[in-house]
């Protein structure tokens, strides 16, 4: 089963922009070690860090109406999505083990199973050719 780990934290302060080169390297090394473990275990499918929320553009869609485009994120909250991992795990407990090891200084990880299209009667449906790259 695939799980999404959504990484949510306060923006700024811990951002890489403010960090010196050595501090940035220490932080990157931690994330690198974390991901490497997930890759070695065959769990890693995809994962990215996002640029800060001011770089976001939001498109509001309502059936039958013109989409409305605005600058900035969906929610102007202090805590924002900063990145994600998509992992193959045997169950939610295993996904939670990965979530607990995220090298956050401080933040929150929302863990959600991806939709099982077989349950909906679409065993062949795939949103794209996503395969474990490990």
């Amino acid at each position: 089963m695939k799980y999404v780990l959504a990484l949510i934290s306060e923006e700024g302060g811990t951002s890489m922009e403010d960090a010196g080169p050595e501090e940035a390297k220490t932080v990157m090394d931690r994330w690198d070690a974390y991901t490497r473990e997930a890759v070695d275990n065959g769990a890693f499918i995809a994962g990215e860090a996002l640029q800060p929320s001011p770089t976001a553009t939001t498109v509001r869609i309502k059936e039958g109406e013109e989409p409305v485009v605005t600058d900035g994120p969906f929610a102007e909250s202090k805590e924002q999505l900063g990145g994600f991992y998509l992992f193959e795990c045997k169950d939610l407990d295993e996904a939670l083990e990965y979530a607990k090891k995220i090298p956050f200084q401080d933040g929150t990880v929302e863990v959600r199973p991806v939709m099982d299209f077989t349950d909906l009667g679409y065993p062949d449906y795939t949103p794209g050719p996503v395969k474990a790259t490990a």
Partner: protein, 133 residues
């Protein structure tokens, strides 16, 4: 350049949907996914199960992590899925966002970190999705 399209909308609403309506809905999503794949834009994407199926882990490196049931925020609108797309710029990413067959909701479009800026040739070296998955 990679962009993350986060799909946000009200949860539920399709529990009472007929199999025929469901088939129509799914066709729209299949079509979108196929187009993104054929254009060479598709890197990853998934629909998520409802927030009630998820859990939230709070805390940091030197702290005790606390696990609770449900989503991070108990809001009416929730993340329902995502696409990770390779696009030449924000305008192209917005073109894809406009085509996402969501019935009602919002798509937040964000560029991913520029790993090259930190000296990584391949995003995989920085612990992200490899350049050629």
């Amino acid at each position: 350049m990679r962009f993350m399209l986060t799909l946000i909308g009200p949860e539920g609403g399709w529990e009472d949907i007929t199999p025929e309506q469901m088939a129509d809905e799914m066709k729209n999503w299949e079509r979108f996914g196929k187009e993104a794949v054929e254009a060479g834009a598709f890197i990853a994407g998934d629909g998520l199960q409802p927030t009630s199926a998820g859990k939230t882990v709070r805390g940091g490196r030197d702290e005790e992590r606390v696990v609770t049931d449900g989503p991070f925020a108990e809001t009416k609108e929730q993340v329902g899925g995502f696409y990770l797309l390779e696009c030449k710029d924000m305008d192209e990413a917005l073109e894809w966002a406009m085509k996402v067959p969501i019935r009602g909701g919002a798509i937040e479009v964000r560029p991913v970190m520029d790993y090259a800026e930190y000296g990584y040739e391949d995003p995989a070296q920085a612990g992200a999705t490899p350049a050629k998955p």
